[in-house]
Amino acid sequence: QDESASELREELNRVNSENKLLTEKLATVYQNYYALHHHLE
């Protein structure tokens, strides 16, 4: 059980980090999208 909990924590860490990167990328793309949209207007 100790081993199972450890693996889960590791996986949770990994997915959390991935989520953080996804959120940052999404923010960047949103910003670029609206800048481009504004430019085209």
Binding site: N16, S17, V29, Y33
Partner: protein, 269 residues
């Protein structure tokens, strides 16, 4: 514009690049109750992992959608900036101007100088734009549109270095038509006149229309030649009116009745 075209939001294979750091397992290290059995801890971790995975999925989907729109906009921008598109737009504009010019000249009220007219009709007022060809070296604005105007303002706009002059119809306040005149920013060989409203009186024919001249420094200018021209115009107008009225049988009858009525009144007194 502040955007980074090198952004590659589809690069989602970054999980292998992530640093392998341990969970700051505060729930298990600091707050973890001693009575919590290992099964419960595994269950909670699994639940949290499911939640984070679901969030991860939603984020990935949203990112894909936004990226798709972003790339579509980028393609549109490239298309608009392509030399072929710019050339096409210029040709289209030239054709439109020529067509409008032909339409206006062939119309019964067309002026000999042939301005290009674009009309936008709204519920409140009719707005029309006319382009008048002018020499680039000519610093004054000359607009022959068949009506007389009174200037009431002038200002410089940010988008165009040439001054913009504002006019009211000389029949104001009975006629509320206004216009603004400015040299075209795109093509300085044209003067753009924008009209608001429709005249409630007839204008003068092109052959007898008065030339409205603006001196950009001194404001409204009336040179001697123009005064002479106006005098000639008035004479022509009077002759035309007299000619048309004498040909009108109703008018002659009404005139005869009025004169005879006046004679009768005088004979009574």
């Amino acid at each position: 514009m502040d955007y980074d075209p090198n952004t590659n939001p589809f690069d989602l294979h970054f999980s292998g690049k992530l640093p392998k750091k341990e969970v700051s397992d505060s729930s298990s290290a600091d707050v973890k109750p001693k009575w919590l059995v290992k099964d419960d801890e595994v269950s909670l971790l699994q639940e949290e992992l499911n939640r984070v995975n679901s969030e991860n999925k939603k984020l990935t989907e949203t990112l894909a959608r936004v990226c798709e729109k972003y790339y579509a906009l980028q393609d549109l921008l490239k298309e608009l900036q392509s030399p072929e598109h710019v050339k096409f737009q210029n040709q289209k504009l030239t054709k439109k101007r020529k067509q409008d010019l032909d339409d206006f000249v062939s119309s019964p009220v067309g002026l000999s100088c042939g301005p290009t007219i674009e009309k936008i009709t709204s519920e409140k007022a009719t707005v029309s734009t006319a382009y008048f060809h002018t020499e680039k070296s000519d610093t004054s604005l000359t607009v022959k549109d068949g009506y007389q105007w009174r200037k009431y303002g002038q200002k410089i706009t940010r988008d165009n270095p040439s001054p913009r002059a504002y006019f009211r119809c000389s029949f104001s306040p009975s006629c509320l038509v206004k216009k603004k005149v400015q040299r075209s920013a795109e093509d300085p060989s044209f003067v753009v006149a924008t009209y608001e409203g429709t005249h409630n009186h007839p204008g003068q024919h092109a052959s007898v229309s008065r030339t409205v001249k603006l001196d950009l420094v001194q404001g409204v200018l009336e040179p001697v030649e123009e005064k002479k021209e106006r005098g000639t115009i008035q004479e022509v107008l009077v002759q035309q009116m007299a000619s048309s009225l004498t040909k009108d049988p109703k008018f002659t009858a009404a005139l005869a009745a009025a004169i005879s009525g006046r004679f009768i009144e005088q004979s009574r007194t």
